[in-house]
Structure formats: structure tokens, C-alpha cells
């Protein structure tokens, strides 16, 4: 083998190295580029006269420096980081919405209940009543606004889902096409099509930012991409499209459909921005909507029940304070104030107590609660006759004889041990067949009665309503602020309105906080993995500069081989 040939082989290989180094330098900033290097080998030595003489260098292949494991890791962490990121972006919006003082239900509730107190302080003051209506309007508006905002978040989730699904489809198509090209160009070639592989890996990386994927490389060079529980997105050179479908049970929810028949696969998808969108809707937006709706419905019912017990300043039945009337339609979006005129706020109770002026004891009888939960309850005539209580010390044990509609019953009362005793009259069993339905009243007995002391409880409308200064129902309405009416367990409420809102804010805040922390963790993991990946596959310009010098020197040396071979050749000629 001639020296010239050997020099030429060195020039060719060195040139390949110089080209590859240049390629690396020029692609230093190309996304998804993996640095390449020339794998150089010796040419087959020639055997002459019992020994081998080297015959120069050759390019075995140009390979990319690539670690499949780290590449997979980067994809996994990308998917997770993007999911947390998307989740936390939306969660933060809900969090800000619930926490903003301008929109917070907390101050809306407080304003409303403060205005009830003001009405209780001055029951006949029309301005105070007007303020109560205005505050109720403000509260209803806050519910409406929260509902609108949460709905718009939901709509945004749907719109983003549509965009992301389109992006996934575009990427899947690109991967399928690259599979095709790579299958064609790998056939019989010694050297892999590095840049095509980089492109395909880059597309798969991008895909993993939308949705979590798993891959499977085939012998023919193609990569199959799977999503969810193994649904193939790219198989060989063909892709299966995703679509957005509307949830048949809830038209406001968009779901991800798979394949031509658009099977709903939302439940199986995770990771990436699509996973983030689906989970933020599942964990934040939908529960927040449900909570706000439950709070609105609970408040409408509790306030309406108490309000309709009462009588207006003109002696009419109170009716509903908040609309709508249909219990099935009551939610945060639909809540309105049903009362228009301040005179129609019902803060008087429908029954009045009269103490006989001849009583000689110190006993008192007060109305503690009027139960309006029976839909047939009529505040204009809650009692079918006067209800009279007469203390009878000859009873064993002593107590009050209660007369109602011509029939009687009795209540034990021991002033020494039961002062302030509350008694639910609906538990009374009257004489008579059939006995009259007992009144839906709870009374409080206090003081020391003497025998035959008596009280009469009658309808406030008896002889025309004129107890316009009665504020007892306003106090009862005010009590609703702190009473546990919501989230019933065994028929007993466990949360007040404020509690329920606080719990909602806490849930959203905690999840938002968790997703922020999760996002940061995943980001750190992604950064570390990317650093590791880049430390293997990334281009270091200093290294390339050094290589440039190295290969330049090698090129110069190879050129000298040619020169020397020429000199040797000329010397040989001259010797002839």
C-alpha cells in the first residue's frame, strides 16, 4: 500500500472528523441535537512477505452520543413537570379567585349577616331593611361571579384540551413520517441516520410535554409510541388520531377520544399538559363548582326556611328570601334575591306570648323557635287556636297543662332544676280522637310559677297584625350565620356557611400549594436529568474547539505524508 494512499486515507478521515466537529459546532444551539463523532478505524493491513503492513485509516461510522435511558428519563420528567405546571397554572387562578377580597364569599356573607343585625336593631327602619336587600344582592352577585369565573375556567380547560389534542395529532403524524424515512434509510446502511433520529426523538420529547408516552423501538428502526394504558398513538408508519368529545352526561365537559370511534380515554390519560388539564378539572374546578353550588343551595334553603316562618311589616307571610323557588335549580349561578320591597322582609315571628296579668309567680314563657320546615306551614295561621299554658302544682310531677283546640296535654316543669328549659311542643301528644297536630313551636320556660299562673300563645295575626317592632325572626336569621346547617351527617349539619367556604378555600389552596411544590420538584428532577443527558449528548464548544485544533493538526500531518511521499517519489525518479 503506498504512502500516498495512506496519506489520502488520513486526509479523508480527518476531513470527516473536521466536518463532524463543524456540524457539532453549528448545531450547538439546535434543539434536540445530539453531538456526533466519527468512529475511526484502521484499514485492513496488507500482508506482504510474512508481515502485515498498515494501510491507513478509515471512517467506520459517524455515531451520535446518545443515552436511551437518560432520554427516556427526560421524557418521563417532562411529562410530569408539564402536568404539575398546567395544574398549578389553573389552580392558582382558582386560588386567587377564592382568595381575592373583592370576590370572596367570606366578606359577602359577613356583609349580609351584619345587615340582618342592623335590621334586628331597628326593625321598623326602612333604610336598614333596604341595606339588607342590597347586601343580599351583593352576596348573590358574588355567588354568580364565582360561578361565571369557574365556568370560564372550565371552558378554558376545554379549549386548551382541543388545542393540545391537535398538537398531539400533528406530532404523531410527524413521528410516523419520520419512522417511514428512517426505515427506508436504515436499510443496509452501516451508519445510522443520526439527524433523523434526533428529529424523531425531539418530536417524542415534545409529545411527552403534552401527554405521558411510552416507546418501543422495532428492529426495522421504527419506534412505536403508546399513551394511556398502552393505546398505540404511532404504530410503525401510521398514527391513530385523538379527538375531543363532549361528555354525554355533562355537556360542559370535554373529554379525549381515541381512534376513529372516539372512545373516551380521559380516565386513562396522565402526564403532560393534557393530564394536567384533566386532573385540574377533576381535582380543583369541578369540586370548587360543586362546593360553591352546595353552599349556595344550602344558604338559599336555610335562609328561605327561616324567612318564610316570619311575617312582613305589613303582616303578610314572609315567603322566600332568595330565589329560585325550585330546589333543583338552586345553585351559585342562579341565586337571586326574591325580595324587592324592604317592607317584605319578614322579621316578625308569627306567634305572640301573652302573660296573664294576674299571675303571681315569676315564671316566663318565651318562643325559642318556630319550625317552618313543613311545606304546609302557614305563618298567617300557625296555630289553629290559642295555645294556653296553665301551671298546675297538683300534677305529678308538677307542670303546665297545655290546652290546644279543645284538647289537653302536659309538660313537666321543675323550676328548681329546669329553669330555662326548652321544650319542643311538636312532641306533645294531645287528647282527643284524632288529637290535633301539635304546634311546630319550641318554647323556653323559666322562673318560678305559682299554681294556676297561665300564659297564652296566639297567632300574631289575631285581631290584625300590629307587632311591627317584633325583631325575633331577624335574630333567628342572624343566628344562621354561625349555625351548622351544611354538610349534614345523620341529619345534623356540621358546617356553617363560613366554615364551608373556609374548607373550600383550604382545599384549593392546599392542592395549589401541593402542585406548586410538585412542579418545583419535578422541575428540579427534570433539570438534573437534562443536565446529565446534556453532559453526554450536548455540544461543548471548548471541546469542539480543541477537536478542531486536533483534527487540523492531524490534517496538516496527513498533508505532510503526501509531501513526504512526493519527496520520496522525486528522489526515486532522480536516482534513475
Amino acid at each position: 500500500m503506498s504512502m500516498l494512499n495512506i496519506g489520502t486515507s488520513a486526509l479523508v478521515t480527518t476531513q470527516a472528523s473536521l466536518s463532524t466537529t463543524s456540524h457539532n459546532i453549528s448545531n450547538a444551539n439546535t434543539e434536540g441535537f445530539n453531538r456526533q463523532r466519527v468512529v475511526q478505524g484502521t484499514q485492513i493491513s496488507s500482508f506482504s512477505g510474512g508481515y502485515y503492513i498498515g494501510s491507513g485509516a478509515q471512517v467506520d461510522s459517524v455515531e451520535r452520543i446518545f443515552d436511551q435511558f437518560l432520554s427516556d428519563q427526560v421524557r418521563v420528567f417532562t411529562s410530569q413537570e408539564r402536568q404539575f405546571d398546567t395544574f398549578s397554572t389553573f389552580a392558582q387562578q382558582v386560588d386567587d379567585l377564592l382568595g381575592s377580597p373583592e370576590l370572596s364569599l367570606n366578606s359577602g356573607l359577613q356583609g349580609f349577616f351584619d345587615s340582618i343585625q342592623d335590621v334586628a336593631d331597628d326593625p321598623t327602619s326602612i333604610p336598614a331593611r333596604q341595606v339588607m336587600i342590597t347586601q343580599a344582592d351583593t352576596l348573590a352577585n358574588r355567588f354568580n361571579t364565582l360561578d361565571t369565573q369557574l365556568n370560564s375556567f372550565n371552558a378554558q380547560v376545554n379549549a386548551n384540551l382541543e388545542t393540545e389534542v391537535n398538537n398531539v395529532n400533528v406530532l404523531a403524524k410527524g413521528i410516523a413520517e419520520l419512522n417511514q424515512v428512517i426505515m427506508e434509510s436504515t436499510g443496509g446502511s452501516r451508519t445510522p441516520p443520526n439527524d433523523l433520529l434526533d428529529q424523531r426523538d425531539q418530536l417524542i420529547n415534545l409529545l411527552s410535554s403534552y401527554i405521558s408516552v411510552s416507546t418501543n423501538e422495532q428492529n426495522n428502526g421504527a419506534i412505536n409510541v403508546f399513551i394511556g394504558n398502552g393505546q398505540g398513538l404511532v404504530v410503525g408508519q401510521s398514527e391513530i388520531a385523538l379527538s375531543v368529545v363532549v361528555d354525554p352526561l355533562d355537556a360542559s365537559r370535554s373529554e379525549v377520544g381515541y381512534g376513529p370511534s372516539a372512545i373516551n380515554v380521559s380516565a386513562q390519560l396522565s402526564g403532560g399538559s393534557i393530564g394536567g388539564l384533566l386532573s385540574v378539572r377533576q381535582d380543583i374546578i369541578a369540586p370548587a363548582q360543586a362546593e360553591i353550588d352546595a353552599l349556595a343551595a344550602g344558604m338559599i334553603q336555610a335562609v328561605n326556611e327561616q324567612h318564610s316562618v316570619g311575617l312582613t311589616i305589613d303582616g303578610n307571610a314572609g315567603g322566600n328570601f332568595f330565589g329560585p323557588n325550585d330546589a333543583l335549580l338552586q345553585d351559585a349561578g342562579s341565586i337571586t334575591v326574591a325580595i324587592i320591597s324592604p317592607r317584605d322582609i319578614a322579621i316578625a315571628l308569627p306567634v305572640l306570648t301573652a302573660t296573664n296579668t294576674n299571675n303571681t309567680g315569676t315564671a316566663t314563657l318565651n318562643i325559642k323557635k318556630v319550625d317552618g320546615s313543613d311545606p304546609l306551614f302557614d305563618p298567617l295561621n300557625p296555630l289553629i287556636s290559642d295555645l294556653s299554658f296553665s301551671f298546675d302544682s297538683s300534677l305529678i310531677p308538677p307542670g303546665y297543662t297545655v290546652s290546644y283546640a279543645g284538647e289537653t296535654a302536659s309538660i313537666d316543669y321543675n323550676s328548681a332544676s329546669e329553669n330555662g328549659k326548652s321544650f319542643d311542643l311538636s312532641l306533645l301528644v294531645f287528647t282527643g280522637t284524632p288529637p290535633p297536630t301539635p304546634p311546630a313551636l319550641t318554647i323556653t320556660l323559666a322562673g318560678v310559677p305559682t299554681n294556676t299562673d297561665n300564659f297564652t300563645v296566639g297567632n300574631s295575626t289575631n285581631g290584625g297584625f300590629d307587632s311591627v317592632g317584633d325583631n325575633r325572626n331577624a335574630l333567628a336569621l342572624g343566628e344562621l350565620q354561625l349555625s351548622k346547617t351544611l354538610n349534614q351527617v345523620n341529619g345534623n349539619g356540621t358546617q356553617s356557611f363560613g366554615d364551608a367556604y373556609g374548607i373550600l378555600v383550604a382545599n384549593v389552596a392546599t392542592r395549589t400549594n401541593q402542585s406548586d411544590v410538585g412542579q418545583q420538584t419535578q422541575k428540579a428532577l427534570l433539570d438534573q436529568t437534562t443536565l446529565r443527558y446534556e453532559s453526554i449528548s450536548g455540544v461543548n464548544l471548548d471541546e469542539e474547539a480543541a477537536n478542531l485544533i486536533k483534527f487540523q493538526q492531524a490534517f496538516q500531518a496527513a498533508s505532510q505524508i503526501i509531501t513526504v511521499s512526493n519527496t520520496v517519489f522525486e528522489a526515486l525518479i532522480r536516482a534513475m
Partner: protein, 492 residues
């Protein structure tokens, strides 16, 4: 480890961006003064914040309510204060008016002033608050509690409560009937006359009539039964069939009694049953006596027994006319002289202190009962005062014309103590409000403090964090610029 040049660049850049984000947040914290910018910054803290804000608002509302409650008590206190002094003045005038040395003109002048004061009292009871609501008409705040001095209470017994603390309700009004009404003492005297039977002097038969089951009391009556041969006929033409010699009994209704005819009347005979009117009535004047109640005292008249006409052989010395006085447990007898004045407690110390003036010519068995008791129903002070003033004008202060002197002073005292009771209640409520306000303020201050600890930024910490972050960012920027300048290509 190898470093990828492009990645190094990216890493530096994203590190700088992260620094900027933190700096931005700190800057926002410093400029708003809030530690928590959105609930997720501190989920537990922000829920605590919501609860604390609610507590603070509640205690603020409670304090506002307490202020209103206090104002309402003050208004009521003012009214009750003037009511007290007016009542005291009325009492002074009454004492003056009862003085026997007053001329009738003096009494009328005093009555006039009492009447004017009474109008002021009435106006106090009908006071309205700034909303135009009557203070003293219970829940019926649009109804005037007393239409005039003789009017009954028009309100009801409703008491409005205001919430001044959790579970603490303070009443802001007292129904007028618990302030301006008091049970009153009334002295009454009642006469019960013993019926008299007289036969017409022209009667020719020996028919008689007897009376039993008489319960006519003090009613004055006279009924004459004339016999027409078969029936007795009374003045009204009612027929009582009679067959001699009887007896035949009939029940009369006015007054309730049973008359029994007997023996043999002749047609034209007339028998009269009467209350003895005209033959003399017992009169009694209660001269003085404190306004204490006592059990009924009865004075029963026994006519003088001059002699026993049937008695033989020696005429019995006559027993003088007497009153037997009894209060149910004690009994005493006094000889009767028309116009006499007796002091019961002098006769027997067990009797109540009462000076009586006895006049008239009573019949045997006539009875006078003196009662002084609390009436069952309370009466408004306006009515009590008005009655007194009217009696004063009519110069009618006496036992049979209630109110008499002692009763009125007692009654006005009862009214006064009712008003003072109401004032005491108002005072007690003002105390409760004061105490509750202290509690509310204490709670509010503690809550505000807790709120501030959670919500407010620690400026010292935040500002030092801010400068640290600025330094960090500057260092990142400078080192970035320096590091980026380092490349081997510079030496090629």
C-alpha cells in the same frame, strides 16, 4: 462532568429568571405589606385568616349593636328619670292637697298642677325613638301605648333583643305595662242591710210574710204584696197564688230572697218587704289610716234593747246600741253614738290602724264591711293620678269615693317603685353592655393581633430578603456575563 455549552447558557438563564420571580414576589409583598398574596402561599394560615376576619367582623358588629343598645337604654333611662321626678312632684302635691287646712280653691289649684304633670307623664309613656317607634309599646311599636290618661295599655309584652355578644342578648325596650302600671290598693266599704217587714196598718186579716235566704246586701228595695182573696199580687203585677193558712214560699230574684206567706189574710190586706230605707242607714267615713292592706273588717249593728217588755217581775236594764267589730280573728264591741269617732287599733292593738267616723241610724243587723286590698289587675299611673285629681277637684276624697288619701299615696308609691324597678333593669343592662363591650374589645384586639401575625409582612425580614435576592440576582447576572466570555475560540 462534561458541560453542554448551550445547556449551561439555558441553565444560567433559567436560574436568573427564577431569581427574578422570587424577587418580584418579595417586592409585591413589600409593596402590599401582605405576607400571604394568595391562599396557596399558606393554606392553613389563609383559612385561619378567613376565620379570624369573620371573628373580627362579628365582634365589630357586636360592638356596633352594643352601641345601639346602649343608646336605646340611654333614651329609656332619660325618659324614666324624668318620669321619676314628675312622680315625686305629684306625690308632694298630693300630700299637700290632702292637708285638711287647704281651701277648696287651693285643692283645685293643686289638682290642676297634678293634671298637667299627668299629661307630661303620659307624653313620656308615649315617647318615640328616632325611627318614630313608640318606646313603650312592646312589639306594637307603631301603636301609641296610652291614648289618654284613662286609656288602657294598647301595646303588647314583646321585648326586642339586640345581640351584643355570642349568645348574649340585651333587651332594648320595656313594655309600657311593666313600667307605668302597678297593682293598686283600693278601699271599699259595703253595706248590707237587714230587710224589714211591715204590715199595712189597715190590714184586717192576720196574714204574715217571712223572709229567708236573703242575700240582697246593700241593695235598696221595697216590695208590697196585696192580697186579692186568692192571690198575693206585687207592685209589678206578678201573681203569687195563696191558700190560707199556708205557708206558701216563693223565690224572688231582685233582691234574691225567699218570701213565705202564712196564716189568713183578708182581701185588701197589704204586706211590705223593704230594705228599711228611710228608717235610717249606717254611714261610715274612714278618717285616716296607712295604705296597708288588711283583711275585711265587718261592723254589725245591734239595736238598743231598752227593756224586755215581757220580762217579769223586774224590767232588765237596757243594753245600749252597739257595733260588733270583727276582722275574722279579732272581735270587739263598741257602744254606738251617732257621729262617734273610733280608732280601731286603740280598741284592740291587733286591728289595723284605722280611724272611723260612724253616723246614721242603722237598723238591727245592718252590716258595714271595710276592705282594703290590691286589685287583681294593674292600673296605669295616669288613671290613678287622674282619679285622684278629679276627687280633689270634686272635694270628694273619702272612704266611699276612692281613691282616699292613704290609698293614693300608697298607689303613687307603687307606681314610683315600678318606674324605679324599670330604671334598675336599664341600669343592669347598661352594666351588661359595658362588660360585654370590654369582652368584645378584648376579643377584637386579640383577634386583630393574631390576624396581623398571620397576614402582615415582617418588614425587617422581607427587606433583608429583598436585598439578599437583589444581590443574588446581580451576582448571577455578572457571573453569567463573565462565564459566557470564557471560550477557547477566543484563542484560535
Amino acid at each position: 462532568m462534561r458541560i453542554s455549552t448551550a445547556h449551561l447558557f439555558d441553565q444560567n438563564l433559567s436560574a436568573m429568571l427564577a431569581q427574578q420571580t422570587k424577587l418580584g414576589k418579595t417586592q409585591l409583598q413589600v409593596s402590599t405589606g401582605d405576607r400571604i398574596l394568595s391562599p396557596s402561599d399558606d393554606p392553613a394560615g389563609s383559612v385561619q385568616l378567613l376565620n379570624l376576619q369573620r371573628e373580627v367582623s362579628l365582634s365589630e358588629q357586636n360592638m356596633a349593636n352594643a352601641d345601639k343598645a346602649e343608646n336605646k337604654q340611654m333614651i329609656q333611662e332619660g325618659v324614666l328619670d324624668s318620669t321619676t321626678s314628675i312622680l315625686q312632684r305629684v306625690r308632694e302635691l298630693a300630700v299637700q292637697g290632702l292637708n285638711a287646712t287647704n281651701t277648696q280653691a287651693d285643692k283645685q289649684g293643686i289638682a290642676l298642677e297634678i293634671n298637667q304633670l299627668n299629661q307630661q307623664l303620659l307624653a313620656s309613656a308615649n315617647t318615640r325613638d328616632s325611627n318614630g317607634d313608640y318606646l313603650f309599646s312592646g312589639f306594637k311599636s307603631a301603636t301609641q301605648p296610652y291614648a289618654n290618661v284613662n286609656g288602657d295599655y294598647q301595646g303588647d309584652e314583646g321585648q326586642r333583643n339586640i345581640k351584643v355578644g355570642e349568645g348574649v342578648l340585651i333587651a332594648t325596650n320595656d313594655p309600657g305595662n311593666s313600667v307605668f302600671e302597678a297593682p293598686i290598693i283600693a278601699t271599699t266599704t259595703s253595706r248590707s242591710l237587714s230587710p224589714v217587714i211591715t204590715a199595712n196598718i189597715t190590714n184586717s186579716g192576720d196574714g204574715t210574710v217571712g223572709i229567708s235566704n236573703f242575700s240582697g246586701g246593700s241593695a235598696v228595695f221595697s216590695e208590697t204584696f196585696t192580697f186579692d182573696g186568692t192571690n198575693f199580687v206585687d207592685g209589678g203585677g206578678t201573681i203569687y197564688p195563696y191558700t190560707a193558712p199556708g205557708p206558701s214560699s216563693f223565690n224572688l230574684t231582685t233582691p234574691p230572697m225567699t218570701v213565705t206567706f202564712s196564716d189568713t189574710p183578708i182581701s185588701g190586706d197589704a204586706l211590705t218587704v223593704s230594705s228599711g230605707l228611710g228608717t235610717g242607714q249606717a254611714e261610715i267615713i274612714i278618717d285616716s289610716g296607712s295604705g296597708e292592706t288588711f283583711s275585711p273588717i265587718s261592723l254589725t249593728y245591734q239595736a238598743e234593747i231598752i227593756a224586755n217588755p215581757v220580762a217579769t217581775p223586774t224590767p232588765i236594764v237596757g243594753v245600749p246600741a252597739q257595733y260588733q267589730i270583727s276582722d275574722g280573728t279579732n272581735s270587739v264591741t263598741v257602744d254606738y253614738v251617732a257621729g262617734m269617732s273610733i280608732d280601731l287599733s286603740e280598741l284592740d292593738p291587733n286591728f289595723t290602724s284605722l280611724t272611723l267616723n260612724l253616723t246614721g241610724s242603722p237598723e238591727e243587723g245592718d252590716q258595714i264591711v271595710i276592705e282594703r286590698a290590691q286589685t287583681d289587675a294593674s292600673q296605669s299611673m295616669f288613671k290613678t293620678i287622674n282619679n285622684f285629681a278629679n276627687a280633689l277637684i270634686a272635694n270628694n276624697i273619702g272612704p266611699n269615693n276612692s281613691p282616699n288619701n292613704g290609698d293614693f299615696l300608697t298607689n303613687i308609691s307603687a307606681s314610683l317603685s315600678s318606674v324605679i324597678n324599670a330604671r334598675a333593669k336599664v341600669g343592669a343592662r347598661l352594666n351588661s353592655i359595658e362588660q360585654q363591650n370590654q369582652i368584645n374589645e378584648g376579643v377584637s384586639i386579640n383577634m386583630q393581633k393574631a390576624l396581623s401575625q398571620i397576614k402582615d409582612l415582617d418588614y425587617a425580614e422581607a427587606v433583608s430578603r429583598l436585598s439578599l435576592q437583589i444581590t443574588g440576582l446581580q451576582a448571577a447576572q455578572q457571573s453569567f456575563a463573565k462565564v459566557q466570555g470564557l471560550t477557547l475560540f477566543n484563542y484560535l
